[in-house]
């Protein structure tokens, strides 16, 4: 059934697609010549679109499906059903295989019948023939019966002599169901004869004798026959022992270990006749009992099992009555289909004889078989379901909390009033559960997010008092500022170094254009020079660099060194002052740093590349000249002269000094606790060091070689800073909050985090995670602290820091498998985790790119609180809800994974977040009830032997 629907959906889409792209198709398949070319010119560029964009798909879906059923109601929870239907539908199309070819094909192994035995050139002596004729003997097993067929070779080859009537041959063909056979007579007469088998039916009618060629074929046949009978019957062993008068059949003995024992006596006689009775009446129940597959009690409860199976399926499909009834119907249907299958198979047999025996008794037998079939199907379904649940338990039980808090009265969320009512006099918060619960079910009022988020993220403890939190804020801030001064100093060195290398490279490149020697460029260098290349406005860097370059070119090769220093100097000045200004703005270094203050004056004019938005178009030279500060002017003047190289001489004292202090401060900053005590001193010291460091950096390029930070750290941090710059300026520049100043804050937070986590390093996407925090707090140190908390959970998602992403994909896979098998089957066509790659950005950024800012806030806080309310992995359920929201479109269009990626990329920031959230919360409950249900039943099942 599933298959049919899918096919239909596919056709539907195909038609749509055809009508839409008719032109293209025609051109593609038709004769392509000049006309086609002309025609193509009339097409507007947007007609070139091949794949329909996501909204069009959504739109189509709305039109084509009158109503959208919630995905939870459309489950086909158990896969085996589908297989059954697939088979039955196939049968319907094959009802009349009348042609010889069809018949011959039916002799092979096929989906309905297993071929147990086949032998050509078996002789059969038909009733009115004098000579036995050769043919093909085969033994087929269907789900319910065992059929022996013999077909004359002429029919097999499709070659019939004209003298012979084909219908006569058809009459000769044998087609016997073993349920009609009572006795199998075996005759072995001498060496020259392989043996003869005569089948005797219930009505006593003997079938024509079947002569096997020599060489143990008879024994093989019997073995296969015995095997084939096994589920429903067997060759009666007593007959064996009665008839077996000696070890006439030494070969029989070789089949040792068979469940049926033949007592073969030692006699030397060769030719012996056997009669085997076929015990066909054994009920399924007896058989199962004998095989020890089930115990009697559980079998008698099979009806109950079936019912409970249905019941569970009902739970599975979100407890709607309609789905449960359809479930049970489909179970019966399945059983009926399999019966029909057998009937069809029998009816198809060309030999009319097999149907003669359809007496009242055999009708009874058929009814019995039906019963057994239904029960066994139910049993196997139940078995499959149990395994299914085991998967749930193994893979998914850890994903939801043991207990889910209910959402009664929490839908209005955490309002300001509620929040204030939960705060005690000393500022500590009581009923934190209530806060989580309300957040989870109704989100937080925007005005109090700033206050609540640090609690949700674990930065504040709920039990802390206002005073304690103020203290924490102060500590955090100071820690943040100290860290910042550290990396600012390092950054200055890095920049300095970059300039040197850059200048050298540029010089070499320009000289290379004449010499032709390729020049290796040093890694990690030039990125900072022009960061805002994306901008419409050309920023200073682009204006500022070329003159330097030109100057270099004018210089003779001998002057290279000088020009190098010169250029780095000129550029560097702007860089370090930028940093300083930021520090100042954030009160990082405060009044202790005269240099910084003085620099800040010209800062605004220095259009640093880092600011990225590049609105000002002043040239570098203008900037520098505009600076009033003596140092700047001095540098400027010096750099203007080509003799500026002089400055490079040895500020070794400065650099040594700086590096020592920097190092000290770096180690001290790792001790946050001790920080409070000597913060004043160390801050002063840092200030001094920074001052000196900056100065020496600004003045002397040589300082870049004298730092105590290892080259490795410098390089590492440098590479990261370049990356951060590239991404910060591209981060959410269309969102109102991120003007130049706030982008700078974002950059500071990012750099501070990376300085503290150089081992992790900056990776694309981290900026996206800081951004919403900064928007809410509008405070660098708080955003930094909360970002650290956030990264506690999310850092594992970034490449090379863990297998977390693979785990998310695996979990998604299992969840979809359990909750939406139909979708799963589509997605699982390529068994490759990359199929879930479309979720990659979702998990990496906690859906930040998928939603608009207002929705990001909501989804984030719900994810954080969900840990205490329902699931620590709520993001998985949100992801699942996103998939489920569009599952009809995905299935309807039979999307491949590339198409799914494109679809979701197109749909970014256009989801109905509220609806998806609701669905996600429902999905948590759904999985929870499945697992609970499974746990309760597993105690029952454990007592039963499975």
């Amino acid at each position: 059934m599933t298959i049919l629907t899918q096919k239909r959906g596919n056709n539907h889409f195909a038609t749509l697609a055809l009508s839409e792209k008719g032109d293209v198709t025609r051109r593609r398949f038709g004769k392509v010549g000049p006309c086609a070319l002309d025609y193509s010119k009339t097409r507007t560029p947007d007609q070139y679109w091949n794949d329909p964009p996501a909204d069009e798909l959504v739109q189509r879906h709305r039109i084509s499906s009158g109503h959208t059923t919630p995905p939870s109601c459309r489950k086909t929870p158990i896969n085996y059903r589908r297989t059954l239907h697939a088979v039955s539908s196939e049968d319907n199309t094959r009802q009349n295989p009348v042609s010889t070819k069809d018949y011959v094909e039916s002799l092979h192994q096929n989906s309905r019948a297993a071929l147990l035995y086949g032998k050509n050139n078996v002789l059969v002596l038909p009733k009115d023939m004098k000579e036995p004729i050769p043919g093909y003997l085969s033994l087929h097993q269907t789900a319910t019966s065992l059929i022996i067929k013999w077909t004359p070779n002429e029919l097999m080859n499709g070659y019939v002599e004209e003298s012979q009537d084909k219908s006569v041959l058809w009459d000769y063909a044998l087609n016997v169901n073993f349920s009609d056979v009572v006795y199998v007579h075996c005759h072995q007469q001498g060496e020259e004869n392989g043996g003869t088998v005569i089948l005797v039916g219930q009505d006593g009618v003997q079938r024509p004798p079947i002569h096997f060629p020599r060489g143990g074929h008879l024994l093989q046949f019997l073995t296969c026959l015995e095997n084939g009978l096994l589920p429903h019957g067997q060759l009666d062993p007593p007959l064996w022992s009665q008839r077996g008068k000696g070890k006439v059949f030494p070969k029989l003995r070789r089949r040792g270990g068979r469940p049926i024992k033949s007592r073969i006596e030692d006699t030397d006689e060769e030719s012996v006749d056997y009669v085997f009775q076929i015990i066909n009446k054994m009920s399924h129940r007896e058989f199962l009992l004998e095989q020890g597959l089930i115990d009697p009690e559980s079998w008698s409860n099979s009806a109950h099992h079936m019912a409970s199976c249905v019941q569970r399926a009902q739970l599975l499909s979100s407890s709607t009555t309609s789905s449960s009834s359809s479930k049970s119907i489909s179970l019966e249907k399945a059983a009926t289909c399999s019966l029909k299958e057998d009937t069809v198979f029998n009816e198809n047999l060309p030999s009319p004889k097999s149907q003669k025996s359809a007496s009242g008794e055999s009708l009874n037998t058929v009814c019995e078989t039906m019963k057994k079939q239904i029960l066994s199907r139910a049993f196997y379904g139940w078995l499959a379901y149990c395994r299914h649940l085991k998967t749930v338990r193994t893979h998914l039980s850890g994903l939801v909390n043991v207990k889910i808090m209910d959402g009664e009265g929490a839908s209005e969320g955490l309002t300001k009033e509620v929040w204030e009512s939960l705060r005690l006099d000393d500022g500590s918060i009581c009923f934190e559960e209530e806060i989580f619960r309300r957040t989870y079910y109704g989100a937080i009022a925007h005005s109090i997010r700033k206050e609540v988020w640090p609690f949700l993220l674990g930065h504040y403890k709920f039990s802390s008092t206002t005073k304690e939190r103020e203290e924490l804020d102060r500590t955090t801030k100071q820690y943040y500022e100290t860290t910042m001064t550290e990396w600012l100093a390092v950054e200055a060195i890095v920049r300095q170094k970059d300039k040197e290398i850059m200048a050298a490279n540029i010089a070499k490149l320009s000289s290379e254009s004449t010499s032709g020697e390729p020049v290796p460029l040093t890694p990690g260098l030039a990125n900072d020079i022009s960061n805002d290349v994306f901008e419409d406005d050309v920023s200073i860097t682009s204006d500022g660099e070329p003159p330097i370059f030109d100057e270099n070119e004018q210089l003779s090769p001998v002057v290279e060194e000088k020009s190098l220093d010169f250029s780095s100097d000129a550029d560097h000045k702007g860089e370090c002052t930028t940093k300083l200004e930021n520090g100042n703005e954030n009160h990082v270094i405060n009044d202790d740093l005269p240099v910084k203050e003085s620099d800040s004056g010209r800062m605004s004019q220095c259009d640093s590349p880092d600011e990225g938005v590049g609105e000002e178009e002043e040239s570098d030279d203008d900037n520098v000249i505009a600076c009033n500060k003596p140092t700047a002017e001095k540098i400027n003047n010096e750099s203007k002269q080509s003799t500026a190289v002089v400055i490079t001489t040895n500020p070794s004292q400065d650099s040594g000094n700086q590096s020592e202090i920097s190092l000290g401060s770096r180690s001290s900053c790792s001790r946050l606790k001790s920080f409070l005590e000597d913060e004043k001193d160390s801050a002063d010291g840092l200030g001094d060091c920074l001052q000196e460091g900056q100065r020496s950096n600004c003045i002397s390029p040589a300082s870049s070689q004298g730092g105590v930070y290892s080259g490795e750290i410098l390089e590492q941090f440098g590479v990261n800073v370049h990356r951060i710059d590239k991404d910060v300026q591209r981060c959410d520049r269309n969102y109102w909050y991120f003007n130049i100043d706030n982008l700078e804050k974002l950059r500071n937070v990012m750099c501070t985090y990376i300085w503290e986590h150089l081992d992790i390093g900056y990776m694309q996407g981290m900026c996206d995670l800081v951004a919403p925090l900064l928007v809410i707090f509008d405070d660098e140190s708080m955003a930094y602290a909360c970002f650290c908390r956030l990264m506690d959970r999310l850092s594992v998602n970034f490449p090379h820091s863990g297998e977390a992403m693979d785990m998310h994909f695996a979990n998604m896979r299992s969840l979809i498998q359990i909750l939406d098998p139909e979708l799963f089957e589509l997605m699982d066509k390529n068994r490759d985790y990359t199929h879930f790659f479309f979720c990659y950005r979702w998990f990496l950024l906690d859906f930040k790119r998928e939603l608009l800012y207002d929705d990001v806030f909501i989804v984030w806080e719900i994810i954080w609180s969900a840990k205490y309310v329902s699931s620590a992995h709520f993001y998985l359920f949100f992801a699942l809800a996103l998939v489920e929201t569009y599952r009809d479109i995905i299935i309807g269009n039979q999307m491949e994974f590339t198409e799914i990626i494109k679809f979701f990329n197109d749909m970014a920031e256009r989801h109905n977040a509220k609806a998806v959230l609701n669905l996600a919360r429902n999905l948590v409950v759904q999985l929870h009830s499945m697992i609970e249900d499974q746990l309760s039943t597993s105690s029952t099942t454990s007592s039963e032997k499975l």
């Binding site: 070139y48 050509n120 070779n153 994306f534 590239k726 990626i901």
Partner: protein, 208 residues
């Protein structure tokens, strides 16, 4: 197994972060330039139908994240590529320098049948900025040394050379694809004959 549609050219764009991969792709497909693109996370693609030598082909252009730590994730997307576009920023010599590693990385991950002749196209982007630090000659020399890779200096912002570059990309990809088709169709034929063989055997009735 993803079935490869006929006339579908898979093109991968690689290059350092911020060189303009997304911008180039969007300029070509949508003929628009926006200053608002964010850093690409993961991968995205756009498709466009174009005419190449009287043939209509669909280009599926994959845009990837520029940070090399994401490279390993792109592996699945590299496979089956018909052409690889290497982009650098003419104002940043470093981005040019990393072309080597991008090229090597691609060849290692995508395992094309004939790595020596796999079609690459190199784009030096952002020429509109006017302060090129990588001279054309230098880029061209590099391209020549790598089996004559076509080189274009482009501006995604002004659309300079973008159309021409992608035409060349499509052409080269098409040449590559037609070679591959020869290989690809072969197994199918074998499969067909395999089926009929089995059929004949059964007809002869010797299935024992």
């Amino acid at each position: 197994m993803a079935t490869k549609k006929k006339g579908l050219l898979k093109v991968i764009i690689l290059g350092d972060t911020g060189v303009g991969k997304t911008s180039l792709m969007n300029q070509f497909v949508n003929r628009k330039f926006s200053g608002q693109y964010k850093a690409t996370i993961g991968a995205d693609f756009l498709t466009k139908e174009i005419m190449v030598d009287d043939r209509v082909v669909t280009m599926q252009i994959w845009d990837t994240a520029g940070q090399e730590r994401f490279q390993s994730l792109g592996v699945a997307f590299y496979r089956g590529a018909d052409c690889c576009v290497l982009v650098f920023d003419v104002t940043l010599p470093n981005t040019f320098k990393s072309l080597d590693s991008w090229r090597d990385e691609f060849l290692v991950q995508a395992c094309p049948r004939d790595p020596e002749n796999f079609p690459f196209v190199v784009l030096g982007n952002k020429i509109d900025l006017g302060n090129a630090a990588v001279p054309s000659k230098r880029a061209e020399r590099w391209c020549q040394s790598k089996n004559n890779i076509p080189y274009f200096e482009t501006s995604a912002k002004d659309a300079t050379n973008v159309e021409q570059a992608f035409q060349a990309i499509a052409k080269n990809a098409l040449a590559q694809e037609s070679e591959q088709d020869l290989y690809n169709e072969f197994p199918d034929q074998i499969k067909l004959t395999g089926d009929s063989n089995r059929f004949n055997n059964n007809d002869a009735g010797c299935s024992c």
